[in-house]
């Protein structure tokens, strides 16, 4: 029933076996798929899964995210390759709004797909698969035999000022980033991919993100992060294909060939000290970031998209944008630009401190983390006025291979020799 339709015979069989719930679910699903008119039904549009680049990077940023990092429990590279094959197959189906696998109607087996997305729209689901530095070397060993193909750009991030990182929520051998405009669609995708990985990889940590903190397209409005600030104004936008080429995509001939058309993902779980921030005056909030809170405009300007002029002075000759303001430090070097694509998160309540455990799950994509993210973050960590209100609590780095070609699979060029 790969085409999403149920034959009459199957229907009868289901009814006979008392599987009415399932019939309804799948029927509803088939009905939606059958009449889907991408323009008319909100959420029914899809993002292509195959192509030069993986989805979830240049894709107009969706509203929700579920991110999972996994650790391998095998040292057989062929098993890892097979996992990527299976993930690609299931990912392509789910991106179309189809179940993760062919439905079975056996009463003796668990359903192939877990089912919670049956009646939901595809919601622009994208899946972005990544490979961590540790698959090339763990505890000094190259157990998969892939070390020869490790990109230099995938060197583990050096220790960064101010980092107090929770190891259990950092790093990982593999990652899956699922983004969608429906949180249940994103959850469903990760759940089924993790299930497919059972016996080969186990979840190391995962993070839910509930609202985008960037815009990645000129067609999008700028969202606000949990500090109440417009975030993403000066982000790279996917329409700027030359900026994307210069700062995001790995070009042919840079590093190992399996990364051409790929990129690198940095994830930072940044806790906001919400209670502290909420007690800070508007003026201090604006000074810290270098922009006005309500309009999002650079200090002294009215329009959100007015250019940031770092040399502008007030009547006393003081810089309008403070020396330690976030945006000043963040844009000091034109060669360090990154594509930001983060999400707000909360993990509930921190019982120890009696405070909200919430913040920004920062994600950035860049062609070379060591030349972009690292110096940028080093500068921010050293001087950013925002540091009083945030703590980096976890960190991870992944290589994101290029998109799969139709009939191929993610990471194909890496695993080809196996």
């Amino acid at each position: 029933m790969g085409d999403g339709k149920i034959s009459r015979r199957e229907l009868l069989r289901l009814a006979g076996a008392g599987g009415a719930g399932l019939t309804l679910g799948a029927g509803g699903y088939a009905a939606i798929r059958g009449t889907a008119d991408a323009a008319a039904v909100p959420g029914s549009s899809t993002v292509p899964f195959f192509g030069r680049n993986q989805g979830g990077i240049a894709t107009t940023q969706q509203e929700h995210m579920h991110f999972a990092a996994l650790d391998l429990i095998t040292d057989d590279a062929a098993e890892v390759r097979d996992l990527f094959r299976a993930w690609t197959e299931a990912g392509a189906r789910m991106a179309q709004g189809d179940p993760a696998g062919d439905e079975n109607y056996s009463q003796f087996l668990p359903p192939e797909d877990t089912g919670e997305a049956f009646d939901l729209h595809p919601a622009n689901l994208t899946l972005t698969f990544g490979i961590g530095p540790s698959i090339f070397e763990k505890d000094g060993e190259d157990s998969l035999g892939l070390a020869g193909t490790k990109p230099e750009a995938l060197a583990p991030l050096p220790p960064l000022t101010g980092d107090v990182l929770d190891e259990a929520r950092s790093d990982g051998d593999l990652c899956v980033q699922a983004c969608a405009d429906d949180p249940q669609v994103a959850f469903h995708a990760v759940r089924n991919l993790v299930r497919i990985a059972r016996g080969i990889a186990v979840v190391r940590w995962s993070q839910l993100g509930f609202g985008r903190t960037a815009s990645t397209s000129k067609t999008q409005s700028t969202p606000r992060n949990l500090m109440g600030l417009k975030d993403g104004t000066n982000n790279i936008k996917s329409e700027d294909t030359d900026l994307m080429g210069r700062f995001v995509w790995v070009p042919d001939g840079e590093g190992p060939s399996w990364m051409a058309g790929g990129t690198y993902l940095v994830a930072r779980r940044i806790r906001m000290l919400i209670e502290v921030w909420d007690r800070v005056s508007l003026s201090e909030q604006e000074t810290s970031i270098g922009r006005h809170k309500y309009s999002g405009a650079p200090i002294g300007k009215e329009n959100e998209f007015a250019p940031v002029d770092l040399s502008a002075k007030d009547e006393n000759g003081e810089p309008l944008i403070a020396e330690d303001a976030h945006v000043r430090l963040a844009r000091q070097n034109e060669d360090e630009r990154i594509l930001r694509r983060g999400y707000s998160f909360t993990d509930g309540f921190d019982a120890e401190r009696g405070q909200l455990d919430a913040g920004l799950f920062f994600i950035s994509f860049q062609r070379d983390p060591l030349r972009q993210f690292v110096p940028l973050q080093q500068r921010l960590a050293a001087n950013d006025r925002l540091n009083e209100y945030i703590r980096h609590t976890a960190s991870a780095l992944f290589a994101i291979p290029p998109g799969p070609r139709e009939g191929g699979y993610v990471g194909e060029d890496l695993f080809r020799g196996i």
Partner: protein, 292 residues
């Protein structure tokens, strides 16, 4: 046990046979009597039935009966120690007495009201009805005494004895093996891994090992049939069992196991993920029941 299973649910299950209710298709005389002729035969038209599968079910019946004999014997030794007021000996005999039960729990817990009588945890049933293993466990470990436990010990020995009698009349279907093998692992994932089952004695590793052994026993009976349909699956499942046993092995101590309290959160997580890695392929074993 997870929670006491009301008999009515089990009976309903028999009625709507294989209709997705997910409980074993146990037919014993007692159940058959109370549901009249509707449940006489349990093979629905969609279920594959072959002499080989029937043989597997018969062999597993023998396994269940053997475990029941063991349980009867070990429980008696345990309850005798309790009645004799021998605290140390009672504590020693507690976990081993439970092992056979844990091996066949998915089947034994379906019979009558024995499960809540024998295996209820504190809070599963009203306190004035609470007896069985865990009531005595609490007294031995928390109270540090056998005092006042004689009546629970007597009742437990009686219940186990009559359960053994009833198991004799049990007729299992191949579906019971399929469902039971996964259910025993689900017991581990849902209740044991957190340490809540043996919350006073911390003897959870005895239960976990026994659950896995029981699951394997059911799988082994089905294995030739599964191998015929899907040899890869057999390989995956065997690898899964090996992984779980290997993970457990590090916690052996003498004839038994270390206290579950000695396992750090990361140790419990590693064990839990090994069980998941096994249960996932094992849950595909149901294909042997598929016609064709």
């Amino acid at each position: 046990m997870g929670h006491p299973v009301p008999t009515i649910a089990a009976l309903l299950c028999l009625l709507i046979l294989l209709a997705g209710c997910g409980r074993p298709v146990v037919t014993n005389e007692r159940a058959a009597e109370s549901t009249d002729e509707t449940t006489g035969e349990t093979t629905s038209p969609n279920v594959e039935s072959s002499p080989e599968l029937e043989k597997a079910a018969d062999a597993y019946e023998v396994y269940v009966a053997d475990q029941m004999v063991l349980m009867d014997k070990h429980t008696k030794q345990f309850t005798d120690a309790v009645i004799a007021g021998d605290l140390e000996r009672a504590k020693e005999l507690y976990a081993p007495a439970r092992e056979p039960w844990e091996r066949i729990e998915s089947i034994a817990a379906q019979l009558g009201d024995y499960d809540p009588e024998i295996d209820a945890r504190e809070g599963d049933v009203p306190d004035d009805e609470w007896g069985g293993f865990h009531r005595i466990e609490k007294s031995l470990w928390v109270g540090g005494t056998t005092n006042g436990q004689e009546k629970y010990a007597r009742k437990l020995a009686e219940d186990v004895d009559s359960l053994r009698g009833e198991i004799g009349g049990l007729e299992l279907e191949p579906a019971d093996l399929v469902i039971g093998s996964v259910e025993l692992l689900n017991e581990v994932s849902a209740g044991k891994i957190t340490g809540e089952e043996e919350r006073y004695s911390h003897t959870d590793l005895y239960d976990i090992q026994a659950n896995v052994e029981g699951s394997e026993a059911a799988f082994e009976e089905l294995e030739p049939e599964i191998a015929e349909k899907d040899p890869m699956l057999v390989e995956d499942v065997e690898k899964g069992f090996e992984g779980v046993y290997k993970e457990l092995e590090q916690y052996r101590q003498g004839d038994g196991w270390v206290s579950y309290e000695e396992l750090a959160e990361s140790d419990r997580r590693a064990l839990s993920q090994k069980v998941d890695a096994l249960a996932e392929p094992l849950s595909q074993a149901g294909q042997v029941l598929e016609k064709g």
